[in-house]
Amino acid sequence: MTLDYLMTLSIFAGINIMLALSLNILIGFAGQVSLGHAAFFGIGAYTSAVLTVNLGLNYWFALPLSVLISGFIGFLLGLPSLRVKHDFLVLATIGINFVVVSIFNYVQFFGGPYGIVGIPRPSLFGKTFDTFGYFIYTMVWLILSVVFVIYLSKVYLRYGFEAVKEDEEAAESIGVSVPRYKMYAFTISGAMAGLAGNLWAHYMGVIFPENFAFPVSITILTMVVLGGVGTITGPIIGAVIITLLPEILRFVQNYRMLIYGTIIVLVMLFMPEGLMGYIRKVIKR
């Protein structure tokens, strides 16, 4: 095991943590179950790739733009949540995932099935990030994201989300506009997943539609569910486990979906509140 390998793994873990935390804002905070989260991840990655490769924009301009655009598209894709709830919303978000991937696949501008290649690494003070530089860069964003999510969980926004999650009518009765809070959740979650997508695209240097397909959404969901929906440590731990699992157990690589599926089923059956929920219960006893 080289240091490069460990740093690469940490970068993936960091990006996955950001994805899990952003999905957790939707599912765990606001109760809006999405099975299409890879779409937001992809939108962030493609936006930044298009801006830098196709339009030749500097990375540091593309970064805020890709986050803003992801947030805005999160807002747009959240609109169905105002009309449909529960299982119907789940189906709608799966549909959104397929539509977004199809657009990447069939629209020439996005490179089609060959994706976008030659996505530049960012550079700072004339020095292009090597693996170590990118590792530090990712960790900075990771820490900022974690702090951001902890902050959100301490202000009234979180109570608004929780109210919407637990009872929409009761939420309205205390002055929480349910549509407004659903849109907050989709926008914030989309922007954060978009940032993860940006980091991923500029590390990999090449992206394909397949990178953001439905199975990736399931993978992100597995991280959240395994760790514990609605907590903050849960999605972090879940993301780390799911990132490391295929590295530690090589065979997992080939049976990824089988194993993630099994994890979801087992967690739902035996510890529906995830690892963190389970640990908390054990401590309380």
């Binding site: 202000v155 009234y156 608004g160 109210a163 009518e169 309205e172 205390i174 002055g175 506009s177």
Partner: protein
């Protein structure tokens, strides 16, 4: 004291072919305890849902302190000063008792930028929450999950959460249903106490004894129409009301 705080003006509501409310008009006066009664399916809850914005009237209007509120978002109606509880109790089950009340105290911040900066656990809000919980007899259960409370306490908590929004008018939908005699008496005490503080109360109730002992004014609905209105003792003698309740004998008994 005698200005109407709430005016129901010729409100009708149709659901497809079903006429849930037909030309209902009445006033709730500032500071009064007003009951809305009637047999099952009379349209009482429908009217509540029109007042607080869950439903739009097919015809007619609702005015609160002179402002038209029908057609407004429920959250906006809540911000204007109308709190409510629900027939099937709707506390936030996964929040603690304290958090439920703190969630209500956020009403002034939910709609603006302050929701991103204001913290529920500020000293000022905590003090206010404790005050409300104390007045509702809930201070012993602060850290209990709302879902773990017995129904009587859940109903009180629902009122406490509504109080946290500082309402001028409180709508209570069957607050006594499912409560035992002791709990019902406590509820009545609480309603009187809130009313003394200047909160106008409009409640729906099936329990006639509770209604007659609590309300100053009673409006009776039957099949979506107002059939009587007046002081409890007048209403309970009204032949139309007796007829509507015929078979249950409840009105006669409670006299």
């Amino acid at each position: 004291m005698n200005d109407p705080i709430l005016v129901i003006d010729d409100v009708s509501k149709r659901f497809g072919g079903l006429q849930a409310l037909r030309n209902v008009s009445f006033d709730v006066k500032q500071g009064e305890i007003h009951a809305l009664i009637g047999p099952n399916g009379a349209g009482k809850t429908t009217l509540f849902n029109i007042i607080n914005g869950f439903l739009k009237p097919t015809e007619g209007h609702v005015y609160f302190r002179g402002k038209r509120i029908d057609g407004m978002r429920p959250s906006a109606v809540a911000s204007m000063g109308i709190g409510r509880t629900f027939q099937i109790v709707k506390v936030f089950p996964e929040m603690t008792v304290l958090e439920n009340v703190l969630s209500g105290l956020g009403m002034d911040v939910y709609d603006g930028f302050r929701t991103f900066v204001e913290k529920p656990f500020s000293k000022e809000r905590m003090n206010r929450a404790m005050e409300i919980l104390e007045s509702c007899g809930l201070s012993d259960f602060l850290d209990k999950l709302a879902s773990n409370l017995p129904l009587g306490l859940q109903r009180k908590l629902e009122i406490a959460r509504a109080l946290a929004t500082s309402p001028q008018l409180l709508l209570l939908d069957e607050p006594a249903s499912g409560l035992n005699d002791l709990e019902t008496n406590e509820l009545r005490e609480l309603i009187f106490k809130l009313n003394e503080k200047g909160i106008t109360i409009l409640f729906i109730e099936h329990d006639m004894k509770f209604t007659m002992n609590t309300a100053e004014m009673v409006t009776v609905l039957d099949y979506g129409e107002k059939i009587a209105e007046g002081k409890p003792e007048e209403v309970s003698k009204d032949p139309k009301v007796l007829e509507a309740y015929l078979g249950s004998g409840e009105v006669a008994e409670s006299r």
